[in-house]
């Protein structure tokens, strides 16, 4: 039963991705990327990664869809058809994909208990976080306490992204436009 759900979800994700590539109407393509995010959120949930699934559903399916629609409103709605076939981008993408697939060949099998990631600090987090941090959700313990530096970095990244968008688009520029 679980395998059936896996297969259906992954097939739907593949169909959505291919359909989004094929569509020339960018509004529809944006909607499809939203659906793709929602499907991958479901997929993360099946893999027991509830926190990741939550983030994917909120950010991928929610906010980034709206932001892409915002971008569409600023540009145009239909895809520009290239005048000549793009050989070089196809070549680069194919090579990068092949290298990435080659890289996965060395990786330990899925859910292998002897994999390095399960033998380094993870046992300490699982066994000791209850008495050291006292928070039932280990993900929160790791995110906010053990890995507090990383999360501070992430927050700074979001702050920087916001500054960058404001510098490029300018939230105050609207008022100037109204006056002129």
């Amino acid at each position: 039963m679980s395998t059936l759900i896996d297969l259906i979800l992954l097939t739907l994700m593949a169909i959505t991705a291919i359909a989004a590539l094929q569509l020339k109407d960018l509004f529809g393509a944006v909607m499809l990327t939203g659906i793709y995010s929602l499907l991958s959120a479901l997929w993360f949930l099946i893999l027991d990664a509830a926190d990741v699934s939550f983030t994917e559903a909120a950010v991928g399916a929610g906010i980034s869809t709206v932001l892409m629609l915002g971008t569409l409103a600023l540009t145009r709605r239909d895809e520009k058809i290239p005048s000549h076939p793009r050989i070089l981008p196809l070549f680069v993408v194919a090579i990068t994909g092949a290298i990435l697939v080659y890289g996965t060949l060395d990786m330990p099998a899925f859910a292998d208990p002897e994999a390095p990631i399960h033998t380094h600090v993870a046992p300490h987090y699982i066994e000791k976080s209850g008495e050291e941090i006292g928070v039932p959700n280990i993900v929160t313990s790791v995110l906010a306490s053990y890995r507090g530096y990383d999360t501070l970095g992430e927050t700074t990244v979001i702050f920087t992204a916001c500054i960058g968008v404001l510098l490029l688009l300018g939230i105050g520029r609207r008022r100037e436009d109204d006056e002129s």
């Binding site: 909120a58 709605r77 928070v135 992430e154 702050f159």
Partner: protein, 158 residues
Amino acid sequence: MKQHSILRIVTKLLIPLILLFALYVQFHGDFGPGGGFQAGVIVAAGLVLYALVFGLDTASEVIKEWVLMVLVPLGVLIYAGVGVASLLLGGNFLDYNVLAHDPVHGQHLGILLVELGVGVTVAAALTTIFFAFAGRGRRNPTGQRIAQVADLAQEPPR
């Protein structure tokens, strides 16, 4: 979107629930899935929904731009401030053990505060980014109104 009364009423009903759920995710992140990042995104989604249905001007009245401009750095400052406070209390940077009388209480306090910092920055930053995108498309250089995000869904396919 003045003609969509069902959309407007349902949105009015939904927004308090969205914000309440965001607070739940923010402060229940210690016990279940969620935390500052997810809560911040949900708050931003609530505000974006409001702006889409009631217009950007109304949304700007609800949450002023200068408030967002204060909140975006405030969250980072709360986070880094917790780190500096633990330095001043004799621990390492972001070592929450020294924040309260015993280590576990210190960890609870530290996690609560840094998650709050993350939530504030994420909510304000995503709302600001949306406002910047949506506000940009309102007028072209000649002052004529061009397409808005809210209009896009209603336009017939070209």
